[in-house]
């Protein structure tokens, strides 16, 4: 591969091939095979379809794609008949799959009751199918997609991640060709700086500036690292991107390597992401075969080689200095900065580390220019951000939104709000390093500064929606338990301090909280934030501090009244009682009570024995009419 022209030629060859395939009038079936799809049973569906196609003697092409983001609807199967629209089916069972093959692929009639959306690709639709398709919403009709702005995720769920041709067919590697053949490294850096791109790993350091610092450090050898050690509980943005569009990351890395002058790169990805690793391996091999990796890329004289390094699953290895220690074969422990990696990184050489999503944004910026990118998002936080939307929200999944969108828009417009009768209490943003944002702040725009000022952080992009059945003290405890056990143990405040905070939270949650515990948590929390060696410790207390800030009354209720307002913390306070007027006598409470404290006739109000009640609250959580409260 020597030039953009050559790449464009290749692209048109691929286009022609695909058009020819289209003319061959073959139906295409595409199964969503990201980890989310596979977990929901996509592999069995894939096999069932394969079998059914053989039975039906069909020559339809069966292929796979990555996560399109609608995790709620997995397993997803797309069908595209020659000339027709690409129709997406959701929550497909084996039986559904067989039906879809028989009715749609072989019979030509869309299975309307399973269709979720369609992608307009049809050119020559006629008759019945056209009418039928018109009744199915397009992707842009869906609330879930309408408000999204897909730059990084553009290809996820659309192309086969194991096919470099499909990536090239949608314009892949053109940005890299442009950068290497038409731009100087300084110009690439200027473009990224101009675009205002900031690190998507959470801290939001300006990417172009980081590149510039690394470029300016003189050294015979420099390294580029992609941090794919995504470890936040509930976060799966990087995984989905690597599984769904690995070439985009590789392309972003080639551009970055060229800009800083790195000849060797590593993708540090956790071993718990086997599918991402496999697809990356395939993608790297393909990129090498096509001449996108290796020597003298695009005739520029620039060499770049890429390796995958599997992480052993320590959360702290997401911290850049610990990550580098891990690559070097040492125990993954952070070291003090300065020196920063841009001066002394991997094996003491200048090293640039960016997150997966950051690299994922780069090809678009180079291709479309800084101005186009800056037009998306806010002044200080440009572009888009991918979030993993989870928790008590209807449409869980992967969403990419312009910066500056409010939390409310994401949860209600894209996420479809909460289930009927549930009330939003808080949104946890940024995983174990982030914080809980209360309902009052739902109109907060998503950008680095607003989130930080609210006591949360962008983090890698986890967004967990919580309703009234969530105890905020318990949530804080959950996250702190995670960081506490994932602390590397090197520095005193993180190792010893988080343990003490956890002990205090444990006792608050078991009804043994003491006067002064909240203040002690605040003192310790602030101390750990300000004196820890790395940002794992530096942000570990955030979930605690932010819940104290916004939900102090819940802490006080636990400590003073021995009550958990969400009925989550077991064993708190006095016995539970059933309101005789409200009780409908369904008996659910009696069935879940571990000590048999509940008695009563069917359809008659029940009662709880004060002597036998453990105050576990299991009954109150089950009661469909909220008749059970703590005395």
């Amino acid at each position: 591969m020597k030039s953009l022209v050559e790449l464009r030629q290749l692209r048109s060859e691929i286009d022609n091939k695909q058009a020819a395939a289209q003319l061959n009038l073959k139906a295409k079936i595409i199964v969503g095979m990201g980890t989310c799809g596979i977990a929901a049973g996509a592999r069995e569906i894939f096999e069932a379809i394969e079998e059914e196609l053989q039975k039906g003697n069909s020559d339809a092409v069966l292929t796979r794609t990555g996560c399109i983001g609608m995790c709620e609807q997995e397993p997803l199967v797309d069908v595209q008949l020659p000339g027709g629209d690409r129709v997406t089916y959701g929550k497909v069972t084996k039986d559904d799959a067989i039906r879809i093959i028989r009715e749609h692929v072989l019979g030509g009639a869309v299975v309307e009751d399973k269709a979720v959306a369609r992608c307009i690709t049809g050119k020559q639709q006629t008759g019945h199918e056209l009418d039928q398709q018109a009744r199915i919403p397009t992707y842009d009709d869906l609330d879930f997609y309408r408000k999204q702005y897909r730059i990084v995720l553009a290809n996820c769920g659309r192309i086969n991640p194991e096919s470099i041709d499909q990536y090239i067919a949608v314009g892949g590697y053109e940005a890299c060709a442009k950068a290497l053949t038409m731009m100087s490294p300084e110009a690439v850096i200027a473009e990224v700086k101009g675009a205002g791109l900031r690190g998507r790993g959470g801290a939001g350091f300006p990417t172009g500036l980081k590149w510039e610092l690394t470029r300016k450090t003189p050294s015979g050898k420099k390294y580029l690292i992609c941090n794919a050690d995504e470890g936040d509980p509930g976060a799966f943005m990087d995984r989905s991107l690597l599984e769904g569009d690995p070439h985009r990351i590789i392309e972003g890395m080639i551009i970055a390597a060229y800009a800083i002058g790195a000849s060797e790169g590593y993708i540090y990805v956790r071993a718990e992401y086997p599918l991402a690793i496999r697809r990356l391996q395939i993608a790297i091999e393909q990129a090498k075969a096509y001449g996108f990796l290796g020597k003298d890329l695009f005739g520029s004289g620039f060499d770049f080689d890429l390796k995958i390094k599997k992480g052993a699953g320590a959360f702290v290895c997401g911290e850049e200095t610990a990550l580098m220690a891990s690559i070097e074969g040492k125990r993954g422990m952070p070291r003090p900065k300065p020196p920063f990696p841009s001066v002394s990184g991997l094996w003491g050489r200048p090293t640039n580390i960016n997150n997966v999503e950051t690299f994922g944004s780069v090809p678009w910026i180079v291709k479309h220019g800084a101005e186009a990118y800056k037009a998306v998002g806010t002044e200080k936080s440009t572009g888009t951000k991918v979030f993993a939307l989870t928790g008590k929200v209807k449409n869980t999944g992967l969403v990419e939104v312009p910066m500056g969108m409010t939390i409310r828009e994401i949860i209600y417009d894209i996420g479809g709000g909460l289930d009927e009768g549930k009330e939003l209490k808080a949104v946890q943003i940024g995983g174990p390093s982030g914080g809980c944002i209360p309902r009052d702040l739902l109109d907060l725009p998503i950008d680095y500064e607003s989130l930080r000022d609210a006591g949360a952080m962008m983090g890698s992009g986890g967004m967990v929606v919580m309703d009234n059945s969530t105890c905020m003290v318990d949530v804080a405890r959950f996250f702190l338990k995670f960081t506490q056990s994932e602390s590397c143990g090197k520095c005193t405040p993180c190792r010893e301090g988080t343990k003490r905070m956890l002990e205090i939270l444990d006792r608050i949650c078991s009804g043994e909280g003491r006067e002064g515990d909240i203040e002690l948590l605040e003192e310790l929390g602030n101390h750990i934030c300000h004196t820890s060696l790395c940002q794992l410790g530096g942000s570990a207390p955030n979930p605690v501090l932010s819940t104290i800030k916004y939900f102090r009354h819940e802490y006080e209720a636990h400590i003073k009244d021995k009550r958990c307002l969400a009925n989550v913390c077991a064993g708190m306070g006095g016995a539970y009682v059933i309101d005789q007027q409200t009780c409908i006598g369904c008996g659910l409470c009696a069935r879940v009570c571990p000590t048999g404290a509940v008695s009563g006739e069917r359809k008659q109000p029940h009662v709880i024995s004060e002597q036998l009640c453990l105050s576990c609250g299991a009954c109150a959580q089950k009661c469909p009419v909220s008749a059970i409260v703590q005395a």
Binding site: P338, E486, G489, K490, T492, P493, E496, T531, L533
Partner: protein, 573 residues
Amino acid sequence: MSKITITIDNQQIQVENGITVLEAAREAGIEIPTLCYHPDLSLAGSCRVCMVEDINSHRLLASCVTPVTDGMQISTRSAAARRARKLNVELLLANHPNDCLGCGRSGSCELQKLAADMGIDRKGVDRFAGQKRKRAVVDQGYSLKRDPNKCILCGRCVRVCEEVQGVMALDFAGRGFDAIVTTAFDLPYSEINCAECGQCSVVCPVGAITEISEIDRVWAALDDPDKFVVVQTAPSIQVSIGEEFGLEPGTIVTGKLIAALKRLGFDKVFSTEFSADLTILEEGYEFINKITNSQKLPHITSCCPGWVKFAECNYPDLLDYLSTAKSPQQMFSTIVKTYYARQIGVDPASIFTVSVMPCTAKKFEKARAEHRDSGFQDTDAVLTTRELARMIKELGLDFINLEDAEYDQIMGEVSGAATIFGTTGGVTEAALRTVKEVLAGEGLDRLDLGLMGTREAQVEIAGRTYNVAVVSGLSNAAKLLDEIRAGESKYDWIEVMACPHGCIGGGGQPIPGSFDTKARRAKGLANIDQAKQIRKSHQNPDVIRLYEEFLGEPLGSISHELLHTSYQARDVR
């Protein structure tokens, strides 16, 4: 390096660009407390006890790892800085046994001192009370004991073992609150690469790594009327033990040391310098043999047991290069239980030999199966300098004002050559004094090679020039060994001491032992040597008599049987 201006506690100072805030503060005479920091080791920045405040940004900084920047304004005394330092010490105390009364490091413990200096009271000690680390104390083996419950994870032991010794016997394991310093697979020291040098015990700020004490065994022997207890003291003890009693490092207290030992009840008191002279004769003639018979070189010394174990673990293919001469400690004990017992008419079975060593590896050496040439275990007990000081303190002796006493006869004479055994380069200089005189009939000018790392010299003896290397610190030694393995060594003679700067910096020496302290101890030994009338081993009259009456000649058959040993390859992880 250019100078920049910074302000610390309102004091404007000019400092070298590139140094840390801690170094700048100390230059300005401002003390900032530290714990994981150690001047001889790399920076960790892990304990967070040296926090100071950047006045401009109000950020708290770990001063030991923060480089100075021009115009920086630092407060070491702001409320935020003081609170942060204190809180981190309180957090360490919350996971520490706080049983100072039962701890061997009480008085020399840095955590104890910090807590006292910061005025942390009972309330401060207890305010974060909760779960504490509960691990078994590791005390298998002979030399070192690890109490993980006292460990504060400062990592100094890990760093000294890796950076100075190149052994890497210790590292961190586990995460979060379960993090711990341990050996590979939690194996005992005997089954790993550990050289038992004890440098970890010297740098440990608390009582987490200490020598395995033999004080009780020694007291029991002293209390036993049927035991004839003979003690030897290594050359370096006389210039270091004074520190335990408030004297300056390097103060020569030979006479008081002897007096104290007699007051403790030892039946006979000798110096290991006597057998160091013996070692020089045996090893010197061994070298003469090698060079006159053109045997393979380099000749490598073997008097340091930490080095010997290191070689056995890591360079088993090079053991043939090591001198077969026993160490002075082992020669002495063997001679006591053979020649000396006969001379004074005491049953060797009733003799209990104690040696006072600057070293923990000597405890391991005495227990080696080879060292039973007298028919008994040659050395019965080894005390470190620190242990002996404790025994003296137990009796409440006024050490500084003791009246000087002298070594007992008939092995009481020592040469200045033997004295300098206690410092790196000393063995080489002592040996070459004798070798040159035997081969060429002329004296040797002082080599005085200094104390640091690897040093080399060319020595002319009888018309031939010999390349001599002196090395201390095992990671330095490993480089020379690698050269031999690669067939690229240019040396004829290599002296290796496991501990940096030799025995004066040994793992059993008083704590703390900075470079400055060690240099002053070395000066003390050099002064003794210079003041001595006999400065060559082969001129020691007691040694000459020993050969006449008992051994015959160096490398003779009795010598071969009693004064030489063998080594074994060790299969360790």
